[in-house]
Symmetry: C2
Subunit: 366 residues, 2 copies
């Protein structure tokens, strides 16, 4: 190999650097597993983790799932029959569309409100006339961790009789006031509370949630080993619950870290044309930071970030309809999404960023 010249330019600033509990933080929980010798199937750590998660979101019933995608699949399967259309925003992480299909529904892709980046009851109501077949459900997506409007969507369901499920993948720490409509979160490694792979469903409807939990384990009801529901295996192991419990221990500090970092960004972006998401940092925080870049400056902004070796990412890409696997699913006009999605840019956001790093990132933004 030829000798490489030393590169004096600054190191790349990574867009994300997940940090989950360390071995030392896990150890007390792992030792409980060693003693109990229960490794899955709703063991004691699963129970404790579910209770603590439910408390975190205001006392909800909780079902743990193998990941956020399967949480959505189960919630949709619980709330509607297979075969109809599911209204959903085109602007979301592609997992939402996979989940809808895996629940036996056909996605019908809609626009998002360009201010909140979210589907609204108004957009969904207007679309009801144009869907070519029965509408079985609506999947409402939280925009990058923003709290969904539970009140407005409960009203939508009451008006139209169409069940609503929330994909609140990144919103675990933004949730309160959860009602009868299931709310699905992700506990993926990259989330505010990451456990590697995992998810959860929250809902005030206890009977529905008991069925949800049964569906994570072959539809076995209670202690019986008889399937009473069409289901599958969507459980998490006791090891995954151990990571979750250790992560919950560290959550207050992590949230403070994210609030501080969001504030540090907000102060540097004051007076600039790029916009933070509404409410971020003041009402809620999450583990990514997304800005809306003015269309006229987009190409130049991305070039400046690249030149400064600042990683950026379109966390949700350009919309579900731009993925080859979903290019043929039915949809409304998506011209607003096509204008919006390219401009939503995820910036570096993790605890390893120095003040100098933040200056370098925000120096690229106008």
């Amino acid at each position: 190999m030829p000798i490489q010249e030393r590169d004096a330019s600054p190191a790349t600033i990574k867009v994300l650097r997940p940090k989950l509990p360390t071995s030392a933080e896990l150890l007390p929980y792992l030792e409980r597993i060693d003693s109990a010798r229960t490794y899955s199937n709703y063991g004691p750590l699963n129970g404790e983790f579910a209770r603590r998660l439910g408390d975190l979101v205001g006392g909800s019933h909780t079902t743990l799932t193998s990941n956020g995608t399967t949480a959505i699949e189960l919630a949709l399967r619980l709330r509607c029959e297979q075969g109809g259309h599911c209204l959903m925003p085109a602007f979301t992480f592609i997992a939402s569309a996979h989940a809808v299909c895996n629940a036996g529904l056909t996605p019908y892709l809609l626009e998002a409100n360009p201010d909140t980046l979210a589907l609204t009851p108004e957009i969904a109501t207007a679309a009801l006339k144009s869907v070519p077949g029965p509408v079985a459900a609506v999947l409402v997506v939280s925009a990058f961790g923003a709290p969904p409007d539970f009140v407005a969507w409960a009203d939508f369901e009451a008006r139209h009789g169409i069940p609503v499920v929330f994909d609140a993948a990144a919103a675990l720490t933004s949730l309160s006031g959860i009602g009868q409509q299931p709310v699905c979160v992700s506990l993926h490694a990259t989330k505010t509370l990451g456990i590697g792979e995992g998810g959860a469903i929250f809902c005030a409807d206890q009977a529905l949630m008991e069925r949800a939990t049964a569906m994570t384990g072959f539809g076995f009801a209670g202690q019986e080993r008889l399937s009473s529901l069409r289901a599958g295996n969507y459980r998490i192991s006791e090891y995954a619950a151990a990571v979750g419990l250790a992560a919950l221990d560290g959550l207050p500090a992590r949230l403070q870290e994210m609030r501080d970092l969001t504030a540090a960004y907000a102060s540097r972006l004051e007076g600039k044309a790029v916009q933070l998401q509404r409410g971020v940092g003041t009402d809620w925080v999450t583990m990514t930071l997304n800005v809306m870049v003015p269309a006229a400056d987009l190409a130049a902004t991305l070039a400046r970030l690249d030149d400064a070796k600042v990683e950026w990412r379109r966390w949700w890409g350009l919309g579900c309809h731009r993925h080859p696997a979903f290019k043929d699913v039915p949809r409304s006009d998506l011209s607003a999404t096509d204008a919006l999605a390219p401009r939503v840019i995820g910036l570096p956001f993790h605890a390893d960023l120095s003040a100098g790093d933040l200056d370098r990132v925000t120096g690229c933004l106008q």
Copy 2:
């Protein structure tokens, strides 16, 4: 509370006591996760675990999955279109039937050979005439860890053009000669190589397995974040892979333990009317021990086990058609399964059993 009299009778002998790697055995792998700060998404421990698993079964391509059920779902989705029937034995763990339905297929339940407890190509061929619609696939189930007959089923597929997938949930350490037909295993806590929750698909078809791996992560091909396949999230975390690597380290000792225990049972059962499964202990071992009890002595045998405080379990229950969630799925005549299934009894099988325990268990069998 009244004071309880001391119970002098012996303690219950448990049917299963899983033992996965201890915290101390996990620690070196967890420290690698601490350093790498990759927690899922095909990280380094996932890669190493997949390679070592593939080596274990003779050098197969390997896709890790969230559990054994989703392994079957993905393998079926890869091999056939949704909507047809899937031939499968009624006598299997109910996960098999859930997986078939989750793959968009209708189970068509068949008898198993009463000697091998497995579906045979002859039974499947004979059934082709009576299935009320197109047959999309066959799900062949390994009976409690027995090696499937890969040669006979490759021949079936060549003759009939119907894709075959193997549910070899408990057979990880019995597999060799894996061909073009995907073989699905479970790595559940109760399996020979348990990691809590996990599974794997093995297959000699590299292109198929690359698609399988892409399907575990939203159908993203390579480094692109664009879905090219209808898929979902079926990944395992790096923590799960850590448990797997530690479990692989301990596997030779565990296999020897299971061989010794199977031999200890076999010697005690010599001359008795109850039968061990063909080949168990000589050709293969697994983490359960099942005996076939003569019908005439079944009720009395179970009563003796209960009286002696010996736990027993019908690991597969009485057949898929006896579960409320599957009572209406189409099927052939299942009278042989109805006669067989009640007689297949799982006996205590774990490393905590003493010679005295084994005497007590086998003393109940005639």
